[in-house]
Symmetry: C2
Subunit: 122 residues, 2 copies
């Protein structure tokens, strides 16, 4: 699992890290039941503080992407709640779609991008 942090980004490090773990799980680079690097190991690898990685792991656990097994560390364990996931997706998407409509993007163009991303990410 490769990690690339942009320290000049306006996005928080733990958010960048979380997003890349999203991608890794989606693309099966990280598979269900697989262990993630320890917070200390990953922090050392990407050159940030342990707590920054721990924050990413904690939010991922809280949002149902990881579980902590005392003997195996942080393990990929995706909790599926379709209705909740659909509701969250819609809430996250609303301002983005509104922005796109303002900029003249058609429904078909946006759905084309969704197609592209599904191809790239699964």
């Amino acid at each position: 699992m490769l990690v690339e942090i942009d320290f000049n980004s306006d996005e928080a490090i733990y958010i960048q890290l979380r997003n890349q773990i999203f991608v890794a799980i989606a693309t099966s680079q990280l598979k269900e039941g697989e262990s993630l690097p320890s917070v200390r190991a990953l922090a050392d690898k990407i050159g940030v503080n342990m707590h920054t990685v721990n924050k990413a792991y904690s939010t991922l656990r809280q949002d149902g992407f990881l579980k902590v097994d005392r003997r195996r560390g942080a393990v990929v364990a995706v909790d599926i709640d379709k209705l909740d996931s659909m509701a969250k997706m819609k809430a996250y998407l609303r301002p983005l779609i509104a922005r796109g409509i303002c900029k003249g993007l058609s429904k078909e163009e946006v759905k084309g991008i969704v197609d592209q991303l599904y191809d790239e990410l699964s």
Copy 2:
């Protein structure tokens, strides 16, 4: 144009304001060429500081949604750059789609939500 700010939200006030202006423009509650309330008037209306509204207006101007006419104040003027808008949409969408894939959302389900939002917002 109605504005609703949630002061307990984790989203910054100027971001909430910006998102609602996105929606207002998309739904033609705010039409091309139409003037927005002055920063002071809107700040007073929703009970926040002038600079908070100014920050929302500034980012909207910088992102090509408003222009400033000295005699008419902030005016809706959407700058259309299809390629740039598509690229930004894709960049914003990537982590969301990755998250959705992890949670088992199908391509069709996500595109269904896009359809719903286009119906609601245009």
